[in-house]
């Protein structure tokens, strides 16, 4: 029973308000709405289904347990994507300490400087993937996306799969707007090159 609520038609803000009032149905609706976007983002970042599921679960638990602290002037999607992206990046850093410099030196203030001071991710296309993952992530475009640097990958996913505005992506990734535009531009250029070679 929804008590007269139209969960499917309600905005995120309204659903969150109901969740803050202790309605379990509202919690379920938030999970239903965001489980695929959040899981997809994390899965493409960590490229391991089991790990992605654990991290997605952690993301939701963190967000929903802190639902009282959510302020409606911010977009709920930005909040949950930010936590999901941070969870994925933290996992990558824990798994491979070399990725500590993934974002470049702390004092790097430009995209060029960040790129110059960061390490490239190892070629994930060469990693052994199980059959399911190979099927899911094995297409040319998925292979190419997997070879992007994680921050490029996150930008491309948020822009082209989730359809987020540049401003929202900047807010999610804590990056300046210009950096996001540059990352997306470079990511698309890299994808174009990789897909050309993969098709050959």
């Amino acid at each position: 029973m929804t008590g007269g609520w139209d969960l499917a038609a309600a905005s995120d803000q309204q659903i969150v308000a109901w969740a803050q009032d202790g309605a379990e149905l509202a919690f379920r609706e938030l999970v239903r709405r965001y489980q695929r976007p959040v899981f997809s983002l994390i899965y493409r970042m960590v490229r391991d289904r089991e790990t992605a599921e654990d991290l997605a679960q952690e993301t939701f638990i963190k967000v929903l347990n802190a639902i009282d602290s959510y302020r409606p002037e911010h977009k709920f999607s930005s909040w949950i994507f930010k936590i999901a992206n941070n969870a994925a990046i933290d996992h990558l850093r824990r798994r491979d300490p070399d990725l500590l410099s993934l974002d470049g030196a702390p004092d790097a203030v430009s995209a060029d400087r960040q790129e110059a001071t960061s390490l490239q991710v190892r070629d994930l296309g060469e990693s052994p993937l199980d059959e399911l993952q190979a099927r899911e992530l094995g297409s040319h475009i998925e292979t190419a996306i997997a070879r992007l640097r994680p921050e490029y990958r996150a930008c491309i996913m948020l822009r082209h799969v989730e359809g987020r505005a540049y401003e929202e992506i900047a807010a999610i990734l804590d990056l300046p707007l210009g950096t996001v535009k540059t990352y997306i531009h470079r990511a698309r250029a890299e994808l174009r090159d990789m897909l050309g070679s993969l098709r050959d």
């Binding site: 202790g22 210009g178 535009k181 997306i184």
Partner: protein
């Protein structure tokens, strides 16, 4: 204001102007977690109680904040004293009416209760109660109304005295507290 240090001269004004890449990216979809993901998440989330429950709880917390054992004792003593005093006042004011009710059936009822319940089931308790009553009468030498008022007053005075003696001095908010 957000600093925007990156202005790549090669970046196009509209980055999404490459139809071929757009077409490929349009085919990139979402993945689904394993079945039961929603239940697993909700099972580990602390769903807060409804707003009215939290509001009520906050109000009760506000009322009971600062309550100590002595506060409880003082309240209990006050309530007991008030009850005894009420009984005494009502008894003194309506002595005739109470006496009439008592003579019409109350005395009979009490006698039955005493004989059938107390004296049969709790003979020892009844004898002890009688003994205490007689002892109290012989020692205090007062009628029951005066004894009740005196009892309530003694409890109240004792509780207030204990509360006053054991109350902690008020803390002055110093500069360290204020800063924190």
């Amino acid at each position: 204001m957000t600093r925007d240090p990156v202005q790549d001269p090669n970046a196009p004004r509209i980055p999404d102007d490459d139809p071929e890449t757009d077409r490929l990216l349009a085919g990139v979809g979402r993945f689904s977690p394993q079945r039961g993901f929603e239940d697993r998440v909700v099972g580990r989330v602390r769903v807060p109680p409804p707003h009215w429950v939290r509001s009520l709880r906050d109000q009760v917390r506000g009322l009971t904040s600062g309550v100590t054992g002595w506060t409880v004792l003082a309240t209990f003593s006050l309530a007991t004293a008030a009850a005894w005093a009420s009984v005494a006042v009502v008894g003194a004011r309506y002595t005739t009416e109470i006496g009439a009710v008592w003579s019409q059936g109350g005395r009979q009822l009490v006698r039955v209760l005493r004989q059938d319940v107390l004296e049969r089931l709790f003979p020892v308790l009844a004898s002890v109660g009688t003994g205490i009553g007689e002892w109290l009468r012989s020692v205090v030498g007062l009628d029951m109304q005066t004894a009740a008022i005196g009892y309530g007053a003694v409890i109240l005075v004792c509780a207030v005295a204990l509360r006053w003696l054991t109350a902690e001095p008020h803390k002055t908010r110093g500069p360290v507290d204020a800063a924190s």
